[in-house]
């Protein structure tokens, strides 16, 4: 009997797992953005002494996971599972990052929704009684994503104004069955929503309906009032997608635009950083959550947030074959106090 299930999409934990520690590492451009002081480490260069962008991304994730273990004064022998994912084919950044940890590993692909996907599943594993310590992590790298999904870096083309800038960075959270919070209390798992957008330079528009759907489903099924949240933050809708999601939600009867923001909007300075519609990538909400948001919750500036990472689940092949872009969003309720 699934007694923790509230509705088709939402679950409520009996013993809410604690996020006992987080770590985040970002690239130089993110380090020039408005959230710079919340990240644990800012790299001077995007290659980080590696020979390829892929190796660099893997190193960022590996170091980030090492950091979260070290910061919490634990060892890898204490960690029961690692759940991680990234954007590269076959999730190589994660596979190589985890290679030396000797910890049971689940590789995830949720595109840019991976951070809330890994948090959701890690919390379920803990509340299910299968583990005491689980790491949830995600990463992305501007240069490795550009070459996989778009064009060579030095090609002299114009980026459309709706395009977003893939964040170079990673974030990792260590969840525990015991601890003093912040607690993960609810998870609303998203469904794939495809409204027929096929422009991979407008992913915000492709993901916005999924974000709106998950947020709506969350409030519809939990009975939690939007007012009880200090912040409802989507993953990487960017400026275009955030406006669309806000519009859809208000058409659905949820007026939450004053609390609604987006990690892709927050991580860069739109005026000075030439990122067009904002940040994107798994590393975007992973670094914003594990850097800025976690800090704001533990310091008491936010008591309760809804973290809704969003993913555009296309591949370069599906785009070339004219397929539309399926969107997804997973929502996680994180609050400072247990009740």
């Amino acid at each position: 009997m699934a007694n923790k299930k509230l509705s088709k999409q939402t679950i409520k934990f009996d013993n809410p797992p604690s996020i006992i520690q987080t770590a985040s590492i970002v690239g130089p451009k993110e380090g020039e953005g408005p959230l710079a002081r919340y990240f644990d480490e800012i790299l001077d260069d995007e290659l980080w002494n590696e020979k390829s962008w892929e190796k660099a991304e893997s190193k960022i994730l590996r170091e980030c996971i090492n950091k979260v273990v070290k910061k919490s004064a634990k060892a890898f022998t204490d960690v029961n599972y690692i759940l991680a994912g990234d954007l590269l084919n076959q999730c190589i950044s994660s596979n190589y990052a985890i290679r030396e940890t000797d910890v049971p590993f689940f590789g995830l692909y949720g595109a840019c929704s991976t951070m809330s996907e890994s948090l959701s599943l890690a919390a379920m594993i803990i509340d299910g009684g299968f583990a005491d310590y689980v790491i949830a992590a995600a990463s992305s790298h501007f240069c490795s994503a550009e070459r996989q999904f778009r064009v060579p870096l030095e090609l002299g083309t114009q980026r459309p104004l709706t395009s977003q800038w893939t964040v170079t960075g990673a974030g990792a959270s260590l969840l525990s069955s015991s601890g003093n919070g912040p607690y993960i209390t609810h998870v609303t798992t998203g469904k794939i929503i495809d409204m027929g957008i096929n422009d991979s330079n407008n992913m915000g528009a492709a993901m916005a309906p999924a974000a709106a759907d998950t947020i709506y489903a969350h409030f519809d099924s939990t009975g939690i009032l939007p007012d009880s949240y200090d912040l409802i933050i989507t993953g990487d809708l960017g400026y275009v997608g955030l406006e669309i999601a806000s519009d859809i939600l208000s058409k659905m009867g949820l007026k939450i635009s004053d609390k609604l923001t987006d990690c892709g909007v927050m991580i860069f300075d739109r005026e000075h950083q030439d990122v067009h519609a904002g940040g994107s990538g798994c590393g975007c909400c992973a670094s914003v959550f594990n850097g800025y948001l976690y800090n704001q919750i533990t310091s008491g500036n936010f008591n309760k947030i809804l973290f809704v990472a969003t993913g555009a689940l296309m591949s370069p092949t599906s785009i070339q074959q004219g397929e539309t872009i399926p969107g997804i969003a997973h929502a996680v309720t994180i609050q400072k106090n247990r009740e």
């Binding site: 064009v151 870096l153 002299g156 114009q158 104004l161 469904k191 027929g196 407008n202 406006e243 669309i244």
Partner: protein
Amino acid sequence: MLIQTDNMEARMDSLFTKKEYQDYVKKKSPNTSIIKNVIWAFIVGGIICTIGEAFSNFYVAKGFDKDTVSNLTSMTMIFLGAFLTGINVYDEIGKRAGAGSIVPITGFANSIVSPAMEYKSEGYILGVGSKMFIIAGPVLVFGIASSVIIGILFYIFTGV
């Protein structure tokens, strides 16, 4: 207050059909200013061509014949395009100039050198060698194919 249904497609449908959503997204998405793009392309494209003309005049003054001058000028411009790509400058020009820096021969050089740089990490054969024409390949294929077709038509109609 809230719409009571468990199916988002139905919910979205009650708000938008896919077609309506796509039209709405088009309206919401910012567009680049055509006038600004055209002005940038005109100025940068013009500057590139003026530099080409200057080299052409230089080679004429050196006493080369007409065919050699056009070869030397193309070679110089291709070198400059490749060089500026190599020192990470051409993409900065292209970001503003758009077609102004894509259409001239320097842009063609950029489209070959940039993947060659990008895919060097996969080695010289499977990386540089096979990916070098990933952007320029279609231009070559359809450029050469159309020149062959025009050549055949020219032969049919003029018999030369």
